[in-house]
Symmetry: C2
Subunit: 374 residues, 2 copies
Amino acid sequence: MNFTISTSVLLNNLLISQKALSTKTPAPYLQGIKLEASQNEIVLITSNSDISIKISIKDESLKIESGGEVLIPGKFFVEILRKLEGDSVELSVIDNNILRIIAGESDVTLNLLNVDDYPELEFPINDDPIKIDSKLMKSIIKQTTFATSAIENRPILTGVNIRVEGEKLSAIATDSFRLSQKMITIPKNQDNMNVVIPGRSLDELFKIQELNLDEILIHLNHKSILFEYGNVLFQSRLLEGNFPETSRLIPTEFPVIIKFNKDKLYTAIERASLLSSKEGSSSIVKLNLKSDNVVEITSNSPELGKVTEKVYPLDNAVGMPIKIAFSSKYFMDALKTFNSGEIYVKFTGEIRPFVIEGDDDPGVIQLILPVRTE
Amino acid sequence: MNFTISTSVLLNNLLISQKALSTKTPAPYLQGIKLEASQNEIVLITSNSDISIKISIKDESLKIESGGEVLIPGKFFVEILRKLEGDSVELSVIDNNILRIIAGESDVTLNLLNVDDYPELEFPINDDPIKIDSKLMKSIIKQTTFATSAIENRPILTGVNIRVEGEKLSAIATDSFRLSQKMITIPKNQDNMNVVIPGRSLDELFKIQELNLDEILIHLNHKSILFEYGNVLFQSRLLEGNFPETSRLIPTEFPVIIKFNKDKLYTAIERASLLSSKEGSSSIVKLNLKSDNVVEITSNSPELGKVTEKVYPLDNAVGMPIKIAFSSKYFMDALKTFNSGEIYVKFTGEIRPFVIEGDDDPGVIQLILPVRTE
């Protein structure tokens, strides 16, 4: 194997590739990046227990002298490429099991891993993938994944449930204390779909979406889902099991609706959270709509002190006075996902879940369970 | 106590003040900021085992209704001030032991600590302090403190030795594997001085020097040293014991002198350090001046691979070929302290300390002990 390529082209692809690199693994070969050079392209493959990434590079800077496939210690390869000077880099195999990297005034050799140890990975492409705008995909991830459960006692809740029914795509995440839902319309598709994708996989997918392409193709297979993103194939395992039916959890009637400036509400809750009582690891903050149409955000830590914040609703609030307590983190997490500068907080009752929505975020519902106090 | 002050003025001073705040301490009062309000100024005092800071604030925004002194939980006070909105903030004591903070739409109360628990701290000012340009003080710290010992088995080496003899000020730090020395000329002073200041104290002093003042006054006392920096008094304890006599360790004759572009040498060593054998926690890299006047920087890790970097001396190197091994971290740490774009590396022999100097860094010597290999 021997080829030359633009250093920055190789590096930029390696930086995507390494998202699927295992760092701690009982299988040392998963710490490797498999590199295949054929006649006119090179392919990078990485894999860990959740995701696998396959990247095809066809670049005008690429000059392949001879093909081959090798398994390169991933962490060191990426570190070296990051630091190399010189516009182009030459990679070749010497002595059968050593990769030689030449760029600028640097001459580096890296001992290779045994490529025969690497599993054969499939990246199955369907004829009829779901097509989705990549910005929309990014917003789906941003607006739902944060609400997945971080603890593993109900593994299904560590994932995001994505369903396609006709022209309706819905994404739902819940850790049973809060719920995020985004519904969008997509071009009608052949097949319906109902899968649960690990939240961690979606977080990694989000990170590689700096690529700024227009469209992402989604290929659904039996036990995996594959996102095709330009020259990048990003495959995630699916979670097995039934995602809970959540539609009945979302209230539909709201006797109290308050419209806020999002940033003013956020900073008020943030300040209140500095001196608050704790419920487990959550800071508990209260929202109190008073009869004179002023909202107070308050907290009280017997040891530390108290915070009282006044926030003025943008319109007259609808409904009767209400007092509700909640985790400040959950509320702030939810607010952060909105593009809307003005948001609605909708209440059903003091011990019933409440909902946040925004005009510029159609199809998005953030639901939070209040905390009982006293 | 009751006063109003510009929020940003108070915050900016608190951010300096908190550098001396204890976070983990058996003495809870040291987690407090002592605030004294008198007729026309407020004073902030903080202290931990190494340093004490006293800041006097006389600002045109300051309106003092009534004076007093309180001890405020430091971490929470700073956090709240960081987040407050509103140009000015009102602080008052209510119910004897509660601080009330009002700004914008926020109304916060903080339970106070008992100010009677706080020790009486002295910040003794001399009539005839040493005056030093504050940029120069900053460069002294930057160019020496990093070479202090991080381990406590010889406590005296965790400090920087600062000596004033007539018009000569010298600062020296060594962890016994490397040594940094900076010598400058100062206006002649009454008293000579020979003290060892904890490296950590100087690191903190460095951080608050964003204040960008022209001059710093140094007041030396029996067991402490006090840096007067505008409205800030920064006091550090001194280390007891004798700092080793280091002047004989620095070679004076150098059969081999090589002039380098600093950045080229730095990046070559950095790349070599990626695949290097380890000596304890150090990465060992070799420098090899070859007979054809080319310098090779090399490393070799039997498990990982090898790096060979060519670096070309700026002038013909003086002296015979030489091969020397060293800790890449020590070499990079030393290079980082130079303002000079071109530096000289001066060798006495393959197992003798070598020295780095730069034309734009007069009075600075960075010395490194080589590592024996094979």
